[in-house]
């Protein structure tokens, strides 16, 4: 399809090339490292779950034990598999034994490497089979039930109590939601462990736990049957437990995952090295599980100005695309984020928003672009807010976005009430239906405000990317090029959990995923 914005394909290619270069540089860095979270993830996939008497998750107990003994550089898998071979215990028993201090994995005699690797690969395959099964299950359900048309209606539930969340989520599905995201409690992303079990106490959101995933998945499957539409479940694999949550999601058939190292770096002050390494593995899991990821560029516009910083969003999307490709994630699963965040008082702001949304759509034609509603400029005037959201919805359908995260008129006030969500869905459905084919109909004046705006943003983004190639990605973060937030490579939370891989690093999951996803092998150029 011809560009409605007369975007220069060569310029787009230049942007992509620059982002590819940035991602290649980072990929080389990432491949040399593992993290405590990646290793816990391997344990979870091996079947380690539950908490010890103090409530500490067993994956943490096991990984910490190995880490403290300095054994993480080779991968926890070797120690764990060896432990199982040596003790003959099942995953749960062995983990408990480690938790109780009865077994110290690094002190057990080591089976021959080949034997360990063979057993490790076999057990890994079992875990991956479960994920394959989930993926097939999802495909069958969608084939049988169907799904809503794009833009998907995405809403959040955030009561803090998984059981209230279920009520709200089911109501939302009946009202027409296609994707339900369970927002996490404030602070969870900074926890270096994943809470356990069903939870009913969270602030501004509900803890992401495997049990909560399971409860919500069951509820949404149930309501999906009733409404005759597959309802997607979304959560967040970001923060210090990024890959673990990706694994939990893969195991519980989540469909969408917020997953973006840059978000954690900029908005949670998580150490860049840590979360970039975590991200690579988590994206492989998401890719394999057929999970759509959502990236967090929209958030930049909550701290930086949406008009001035528009190009940083595009630049970051280019980078995120390349990161994703290097983790084997197909374009069809890349929910690149952007947002309708310009000051509503801006003359012709609607035109700029249209330009941005159309530009993103054209540059990433296969990606289920995630479009975020106005948040920063929402006020307590719920009536005006509802209209801001309406314009956002109109741009969404007119530019054929993939995922429309619905704005709530009460955005400035509270996490959504049951009828806030209802009114948001009602409005979006009205507009999407009433303007269904608007995108096919509209063209823009070739030298007009919209076209010129898009071209300028693209130019600026490419210039920024090429500058980042020059100064390096870590330096770009340090300079505050994204979201006006400055983050140093060494700073932030969780850096202690980054470990340089040994040449004999063993992680049968990554090994297998690289094959499955057509990625080149697990090089270690230490």
């Amino acid at each position: 399809m011809a560009s409605k914005l007369y975007l220069d394909p060569q310029l787009v290619a230049r942007g992509r090339a620059a982002a590819g270069q940035i991602a290649d540089d980072m990929d080389a860095f990432i491949r040399q490292r593992t993290t405590i979270a990646v290793e816990r993830t391997a344990l979870r996939l091996f079947g380690v779950d539950g908490v010890d008497a103090d409530g500490v998750p067993l994956p943490n107990r096991v990984a910490d034990q190995v880490h403290e003994a300095g054994g993480l550089a080779g991968g926890v898998a070797r120690w764990w598999v060896n432990g199982r071979l040596q003790t003959g215990l099942g995953p749960q028993e062995l983990a408990e034994a480690v938790g109780d201090g009865m077994v110290t994995l690094t002190e057990l005699p080591l089976a021959p490497e080949e034997e360990i690797r063979r057993a490790g690969r076999r057990w890994a395959e079992e875990a991956l089979d479960r994920i394959r099964g989930n993926r097939r299950d999802r495909d069958h359900r969608i084939a049988r039930l169907g799904e809503g048309p794009q833009p998907y209606l995405y809403v959040i539930v955030a009561t803090g109590n998984i059981y209230e969340d279920v009520v709200q989520a089911k109501a939302a599905a009946r009202q027409g939601a296609d994707i339900i995201a369970v927002i996490r409690s404030t602070g969870q992303s900074l926890l270096d462990y994943v809470p356990y079990g069903a939870t009913t106490e969270g602030f501004g959101g509900t803890y992401a736990t495997q049990e909560n995933f399971r409860i919500m998945r069951a509820a949404l499957d149930e309501v999906g049957e009733e409404v005759g539409r597959y309802i997607r479940l979304c959560n967040y694999c970001s923060g210090l437990c990024m890959p673990e949550i990706a694994a939990m999601g893969a195991m519980e058939r989540l469909d969408v995952m917020l997953n973006d190292a840059l978000y954690g770096i900029l908005f949670r002050d998580i150490n860049p090295e840590r979360t970039l390494v975590d991200q690579a593995f988590s994206r492989m899991l998401n890719s394999f599980a057929g999970v759509i990821i959502n990236t967090g560029e929209d958030n930049y516009l909550t701290t930086a100005d949406a008009v001035e910083a528009a190009h940083t969003v595009l630049a970051s999307q280019f980078i995120n695309e390349q990161f994703a490709l290097r983790a084997g994630l197909p374009e069809e699963q890349m929910g690149l984020g952007h947002a309708f965040e310009m000051n509503p008082m801006l003359e012709d702001g609607f035109l700029y928003e249209l330009a941005q949304a159309q530009m993103v759509r054209e540059i990433f034609p296969k990606a289920p672009i995630k479009y975020m509603p106005p948040t920063k400029h929402m006020t307590g005037n719920i009536f005006r807010g509802h209209v801001q959201d309406a314009l956002f919805n109109l741009v969404g359908v007119a530019t054929q976005q993939g995922i429309q995260l619905l704005g709530m008129m009460t955005e400035q006030i509270h996490t959504p009430l049951v009828h806030d969500r209802h009114l948001a869905i009602e409005s979006a459905r009205y507009i999407f239906n009433n303007a269904r084919h608007l995108g096919d109909e509209l063209t823009f004046k070739p030298d007009g405000i919209i076209v010129r705006r898009a071209q300028t943003v693209l130019q600026e983004a490419v210039a920024l990317l090429e500058r980042i190639v020059d100064i390096g990605f870590f330096e770009a973060l340090a300079k505050g090029l994204f979201a006006d937030v400055k983050r140093s490579r060494q700073g932030g939370r969780g850096r202690a959990g980054v470990v340089l891989r040994d040449p004999d690093y063993f992680n049968p999951f990554e090994e297998r995923l690289r094959v499955e996803l057509g990625l080149s092998g697990q090089e270690v150029r230490a």
Partner: protein, 259 residues
């Protein structure tokens, strides 16, 4: 793996005897309010708005928006948690309580149980010029896919249109020997509809006609309960379709021995 907890067993249930609004947690009482005050915006106005909401029984009333809207008025949006509760389990709302028949059944019923054509007059009365509502019930083409009464072979339907004075309606009722009057009222400002509707009942009673007619009111702000209070036999609100009205009229005629 643990079996999935049946979330249903964990969900709070409403207390139907002490029913409260629900925002995102059972019984939180969450309510949204908006209004204007005839004072300029400012800290005192905001406090006045908060106090008002508190008097209405809202705990933790919060003014989430306040704005000057000119001429010494200010506008407010509030949220709060309503402390009042109602005994939902014991609410009994009077309902038009007849068997709902369709087009064919109504006509058959008239043939079998009344044995002559039923004469029905419809009008939008007083200065009210809104015909769309009464037309929806009366006109051939009907509304929302349901024929209007004019299409019913066993009904002689006369749609007098709008801005019909009550006296004129009564005159026509006598002239055409009406079995039922259907009165529409759409404009409700300053309760003009209540006066109008009550006035018609007075006229009919004065003429000794009230008992010989089925008297029905309808309109966007009419409820069955209100109609009963005003001395009508039934009231119909938004979304009414002709068959409901016809079903009521013919069954009421039989019940009252007007057939």
């Amino acid at each position: 793996m643990n079996p999935v907890v049946d979330y249903r067993t964990k969900i709070a249930r409403p207390n139907l005897h002490q029913l409260r609004p629900y925002g995102d947690t059972m019984d939180d009482g969450k309510v949204q309010l908006s209004f204007s005050l005839p004072v300029p915006d400012g800290a005192e106005a905001v406090e006045a708005a908060r106090q008002l909401a508190t008097k209405m029984g809202l705990r933790d009333a919060a003014v989430v928006h306040h704005e000057d809207i000119g001429e010494g008025f200010s506008f407010f949006v509030l949220y709060g948690n309503c402390q009042h509760a109602v005994d939902y389990a014991n609410i009994h709302v009077p309902k038009v309580d007849v068997e709902r028949m369709d087009f064919y059944a109504v006509n058959a019923f008239i043939r079998d149980r009344i044995g002559r054509k039923v004469v029905i007059l419809g009008a939008c009365t007083g200065t009210d010029a809104h015909t769309v509502g009464i037309d929806a019930i009366m006109n051939m083409k009907g509304y929302n896919g349901e024929y209007g009464l004019e299409r019913y072979p066993e009904i002689d339907a006369y749609n007098l249109g709008s801005q019909v004075e009550n006296a004129e309606l009564v005159r026509k009722a006598i002239e055409l020997r009406a079995d039922a009057l259907l009165v529409s009222q759409v404009v409700t400002q300053k309760d003009v509809h209540l006066h109008n509707l009550a006035h018609l009942v007075d006229l009919l009673e004065a003429q000794g006609l009230r008992e010989r007619l089925v008297l029905v009111a309808g309109g966007p702000r009419i409820t069955h309960e209100l109609a009963l209070e005003l001395g009508y036999d039934a009231g119909f609100g938004p979304g009414t379709l002709a068959p409901e009205v016809a079903s009521f009229v013919v069954q009421e005629m039989v019940r009252r021995g007007l057939a």
